[in-house]
Structures are given as C-alpha cells and as structure tokens.
C-alpha cells in the first residue's frame, strides 16, 4: 500500500518547489515536468467508490476542517451555547445546513413529524391545532434569507478579541426556505390582525424560547418553514418546523415552533427583556431592537485564510447583508479607511439575504488594512466601530455591525485589529 502513495508525495514536493520558483520569477514557469501530469496517478487508474457508498453524502475528507466550531469559554455549557459557521471557507451565498451555526438554549431536540403539533390560540375566532401534514396542504413559498444571531460580533464591542472571521462573524447563515406565510395560518384561525396586536411564538424544547412579534411584521414576510436548501430542516435548526423572521435577529426565528398566540401586548419574555436588549452607555437599554442593520465582512483573506500565493492577482471576497432590504453597494479599503473602491457584487436581487462581493486586485506584497463597508437600499451605510461606540458605548453586547479590519502583513497573514 505504501508504494501507492509515493508518486503523489514526490509530486507534491516537486510541485511546491515549482510554485515557489514561479512566485520569485513573478510568472509561471515549471522547473520540470509535473509528475501529477506525467506520471499515471492512482485515481486515473484504479476505480473509485461505487454509487450508494454513502447514501447521504458528506464533504470529501480533504474538507473535514470546514466545520462549525465553538469557543468553549464563552458559555457555561454546550447545551446552552453557540457555535460558528465556517464562513471563511465558503463562497457564494448559500450556507450548507451541515455547517450552519447552531444556537440552543436547552440543547437540540429530536421531535418527529408524527409527534409535531402547532397550536394557534389567543385572540382568534377559533383556536386551532395543526399537524405537520396539515401544514403541507397550505400554499407555500420559497425565499432565501439570512439568519444572524443578534450577538454576532458581540465579543468585539470592547476591542479586537477573536482572531478568525468564523468567530467574529460566524453567527450567520443563509438558506432557501420553504414554508407557509404566517399570515395564512393567522387568517385560518380568524385572528384579530389589527395593527396593535402581537403574535407570541414559542418553541417545543425545554427552553421554551418565546418572542413577541408585532402584527405588522407577522403579516408581512414571516414564514412557518419546514425545508431549508431543498431538504428537511436539520434537528439543530428546529426540525420539523421553525419560524423564519426575515431581516430580524435570529433569536426570534423560534425553532421547533409549537405555539402561536395572538395577544394584545408583548409578553416581555426572558429573551426580550433580560437578554436581546442593548445596554447603552448611560445604563438605560434599548428593547425591541429586532432589525439587523447592514453589515459586511471580508471572509478572505482573513486570519483563517492567509494569502499563500505571494504577490500578483488576489481575490478579496466577502459577504454583505441588511435586515432592511437589499445590498446595493460594498466598498473595500486596503488602507484602513483612507481610500475606498467599490467592489463587484455577486448575484443581486434577494432582499434580506447574503450578497457576495469581490474585489479582484493585484497585490504588491505590501501590508494592508482591509475593510469592507456595506450600503443597503435604504441608503444606510455600515458604521465604524467608533461611530457605534459614540452612539451606544461598549456594553450593548448585541447588534454590533461595525466595519471590521484585518491587518494583512507582507507574508499574507491576516490578523483581527482595531484602527484609529
């Protein structure tokens, strides 16, 4: 068996020498024929695995580092905790479910479709109970939306803390949801949908996470969703049914949704009073800060994605999003905000969804202070850390949408820094 691996190893060694020589010369020239091309490789000779080897496929082993990761010391227990999407290693905009961040208050539960019940009660003509099968019979829609935890980037209020975009910005994912508009279910129960009413939603897990949503939003774009990216929701994202509250903080996207109650006031539950409220500098706190403001971050280069190829063509890439609507423009600075240039946006048109941006540049090998700045279709411009702190101080915990800075040194290594 050992012999089988020898050609590849030699190939790797000689291949990397060629790359090094190429970067010195500033143009590609091979020091000799590449054995990966000139020698018959195992994979070009022996057969591969057959169909059904993995009835549900996982990423190839070479990608096993692209996983959600937690930061143990942030929380008391992994059962009431959070982990982070590996956004540094992804491209495009859709987040695969298997690496989309998780946030649980009492752990992820196994709730089957046959055991699933959804109740609507409160200020309704007829309180109703739906089974999963009932939900399948309502007209449904598909929409791509981002889901961002209000605490995303929350550790960075007091300064640059964690060296990795996965950890500074990874409490976000972006999926295509299939679900029934909440308004359809409210109308089915004959709900009082006058604008001063609230919709309280609650999960079936032990934490019983509950949040109050004003009627206007409930009637607008909220979905009772059962599919993400075409397949069933994952357990950790609320299988079989979760709420999707586009553009609003992730905590309101109640998982394992079991009850919808129409009320005449906000319940003021634990998660909308003691948590998910933003303490300002004078000690007062903002509540009902539901919307996620426009934000962007460069995902590569970043601390987990150093530049390994030296000078020359470099693709700077990142993500932008806004809970208010569409991203219309992203600017990138290489000098910490002195000069800005407008980046190229990927596919546009989705509201309250991630937008990919690129800046295709020629890197001269000098250190950079990389920043990105998003604008949305309300004209909102992503603020600097300084602007945010002027408004709120440093104790808000939630809703930190500041401009992020990566210092990239001459070796291409990036670090999370703060600038004047």
């Amino acid at each position: 068996m050992d012999d089988m691996f020898k050609p590849s190893r030699r190939a790797f060694l000689r291949g990397s020498a060629a790359v090094a020589a190429g970067s010195v010369a500033g143009a590609a020239s091979a020091s000799g024929p590449d054995p990966l091309i000139t020698e018959l490789q195992d994979w070009a000779s022996y057969t591969g695995v057959g169909v059904d080897e993995t009835p549900y496929g996982m990423p190839i082993s070479f990608e096993s580092h692209v996983v959600r990761r937690n930061v143990e010391w942030l929380t008391a227990s992994p059962i009431s905790s959070i982990n982070f999407t590996p956004i540094h290693a992804l491209d495009g905009t859709i987040t695969p479910q298997g690496c989309a961040f998780e946030r649980h208050h009492s752990g992820a539960i196994e709730l089957s479709k046959p055991d699933y019940r959804l109740m609507i009660n409160g200020l309704v003509d007829q309180p109703l109970v739906f089974t999963y099968d009932d939900l399948m019979r309502f007209p449904r829609e598909n929409h791509v939306y981002f889901c961002e935890c209000a605490a995303n980037t929350g550790m960075e209020w007091a300064g640059a803390q964690l060296n990795g975009v996965q950890f500074t910005h990874g409490m976000i994912h972006n999926m295509e949801y299939t679900g029934v508009p909440l308004r359809t279910l409210l109308k089915e129960a004959g709900a009082d949908i006058s604008s001063d009413k609230w919709v309280y939603v609650e999960g079936a897990d032990a934490s019983s996470n509950g949040r109050s949503i004003p009627m206007e939003k409930a009637l607008d774009d909220v979905l009772v969703a059962f599919k993400a990216n075409g397949e069933a929701l994952r357990m950790e994202h609320g299988y079989p049914v979760r709420l999707v509250v586009p553009g609003w903080e992730g905590n309101m996207w109640v998982k394992w949704l079991r009850r919808i109650e129409v009320t005449d006031m906000a319940v003021e539950s634990r998660e909308e009073t003691s948590k998910y409220t933003d303490v300002l500098e004078d000690g007062t706190a903002r509540k009902w800060t539901w919307e996620m403001d426009a934000k962007s971050v460069i995902t590569s280069p970043s601390p987990q994605m150093p530049i390994t190829h030296g000078k020359g063509p470099l693709v700077v890439s990142g993500l932008a999003w806004s809970g208010h609507g569409k991203i219309t423009r992203v600017d990138v600075s290489k000098d910490g905000g002195i000069t800005w240039e407008t980046a190229r946006l990927g596919k546009q048109g989705d509201t309250k969804a991630l937008t990919r941006f690129y800046l295709d540049m020629d890197w001269d090998g000098a250190p950079m202070l990389l920043q990105s700045r998003a604008m949305d279709d309300t004209g909102y411009v992503q603020p600097t850390k300084e602007q945010l702190r002027e408004q709120r101080g440093e104790n808000s915990v939630y809703h930190n949408n500041c401009i992020q800075t990566w210092y990239v040194n001459a070796e291409g290594i990036a670090e999370n820094v703060e600038v004047s």
């Binding site: 309180p127 509540k287 002195i338 800005w340």
Partner: protein
Amino acid sequence: MSKSPNFLIPALGGTALVLGAAFALMNRDYAADKIDTLETRVEQVSAQATSATEKARAEAARAAELEQQVAEIQAVASGGLIAEPAPDADGRYGLGRAALPEEIAAWDVDVLPDGRGLPEGSGDVWTGEEVFVDNCASCHGDFAEGVDNWPVLAGGFDTLADKDPVKTVGSYWPYLSTVWDYVHRSMPFGGAGTLTNDETYAIVAYILYSNDMVDDDFVLSRETFTDVEMHNADGFVVDDRAQTEYAEWRTEPCMENCKDEVEITMRSVFLVETPPEGGSNSIMNPAKVDDLPSFTADGPSFIPAAAPKPIEAPAPEATQTAATDDDAMLKHGEKVFKKCAACHAVGDGAKNKVGPQLNGVMGRTMGSVEGFKYSNGFAEANAEGKTWTPEEMAAFLAKPKTYMKGTKMAFAGLKKDEDLAAINAYLASFGN
C-alpha cells in the same frame, strides 16, 4: 443578466487587430509617404474604433438601464418578492382542528407583564430558599450569586453604566412576570416544567429576597404580585435607532482622503487554534501594536521584517512519574465533570439532583441509587443486574442517547477519548 457588456469585446479587439497589422507593415521598410499614409489610416481606423466603442458603450448603458427598469417593474408587480406570492384564501382552507380547552391550558402558560396568566398558588421566602437550594443552586449558587459562567440572579444594582454591567433579576429585569414565567416554564435546566405553581411562587419570592427587594416574611401570590416594584422598570427605551442612528448614517460615504493617517490601536486579544478534531483553542496573543506600521494614502509607513519562525519547544521527555500523570488525569477529569455538574453531584454529602448522585458509581449496579426515578431503560438494566464498568461508562458518556434509549440525561456526549478516560478516573476516585 445582461449580455450587453460583451458588445465591447469585439469593438476593442478589432482596434487591436488593426493596430497590430499596421505596425507589422511598418517594419517592412516602406517608403516614407507610404508610412505617412498608413499613419493617417491608423489614426482614422483608431478614431472609428473609438467612436464604435463609445457607441457600443452607450448602447450597453442604455440596455442596462432598460433591464433595470424591467427588473424594477417586475419587482413592483410581485410585491418585491422573487416568486409569485402564495394564494391566500383568507382563512377558508378548513385545515387543522379545533384546539381543546385542556390542550390550551397545558400549553398556554405564559404570563403577561400585568400578571394575566398567573395561576392560583403562593410561596414564601423560606420555602423558596429550600426549593432554590434543591433545584437552582447548583448553577446559580445558594445565594443566587451564580456559579462559573451560569447567570448571577442577585445584586449588581447600579452597575448598568459600568464597564461590566451585572445584569440580574434585581438590577436589570423590568418585569416580575418574566421571572415567574421563565422559572415556571424553562427551569430548572434539564428539568423544565417540573416545578409546581407553589414552588415557582416560592423560588421567585426567594430571588426577590436575595435582591433585597422584599422582606423575609414576604409571600408571593397572584394577589401580592403587583405589590413588587422592579428596580429597573423604567430602564428601557423602545428601539430608537431610526432617529438616533439611521438619520445620521444614511449619507453618501467618503471615498478618498477620508483620513490623514490610520494607526493600529489594538491587536486581537486571542489567537484561535482550530484543531482537526473540531472546536477551538483560544491562546493569548503576545504580539504588540508597536511592531506594526501606520498607514497613509501612500501606503504603510514601513514593512515589518518577516516574523521569525517560532522555535518549537522540545517535546517534554516522558520523565513524569505515574503519580503526576494520575494527578493530571484527575484534574482534567474534574474539569470535564463541570459539564455534568448542572445535574449530578459527587463527593461528600452528594445528593440526587436532576440526575442521580455519583459517589461509588464505578462498580455499582445501574439504576440503583435510592430515591432517584430512572428511565425505563435504566430500570431494565437494573433488573438485569448490569453494573457500571469504565467501559460501560465510556460507551454511555460518548453517546448517551444511543447507549441508553430513552435516558432522561440531556447530555450530548463526550467526543474525546481523553475526556472519557479522565471522567472515568475522576468518578472512580469517589469510591468504587
């Protein structure tokens, strides 16, 4: 998307071809007048090409404009949605069934700020202390002061404007209803929904007492609920970002010479290792700000020399005695046990909590701790006389729900073999 930018490619490519051909001809030593003629020709062709390019550009811009208009019209027509919205029969689908009063009573237990939803019952401070110590103190401390990273429930008054505000029921929570509702529905951790109404009233009374908000003879009930004044009741404002922030930040941003100079004021406090087995390790970052350049529009002030490769510390020789290995193992085990301590006690005077006490667990018959109500699975294991060995324990703790179907233990499992070995050693140190 538009294909119109492609118009530019043939136009520009054509110019290059013509120019290339012209220069090739010039190299053949033609007569001067011929060259003049050709130069004029080049100018003409070049001018034509430029004009064609401009025309193509204008056409492309017009096409893009029209496409934008089409997109806008479509967006308006579909209410801003990509897809046509689902039809809405205005509540005439006739799906689902009527919810029964018993079902609504079982699930609709939330309590509103004005106290609506509170059930009959009552609890006093001293009963509350007992119930709190039994159910809550393992995480929140005997005096609601919080253990490890678990929430502090008492004190912290007048710290909200400090650098590190202490947000407790006393100092921060604006409504008493929230406390009652959350304790009743979501606590204790790992046993939510098991507290009676009286126990809940008593726990909440004790939390208020531990915050000096009521006297020790206080009895909380639906009747006394409105007597309690919350310290931070007026400490909240409804989201005012639209007035305070959006108004200020919806401006055309600066693109050039936005600052004179930029200095790096802080470097990442932690470096984060991402090991192949998952998770992450945070390590303090020793690097200093002084080592880095400042920036102006001309670029960085200097280019720091490449950092020397870290010298790898020689691997420690395996001279440790067995005793220190054991110590390290126990220490590690103690650390791992923190994941269990919310629900299990071990050591002197350990009592059953959410889970059974674990003194002498190694070697004892499964499901045999007195006074603990086991799941059916462990009751059966007990009847079969199965005992806890290090192997069984490791298998159980690696994947609790797989090992023992229906176990009440709400624990995802330990992934690392070294953690499993350490927890076994730690548990074994409490008798076997």
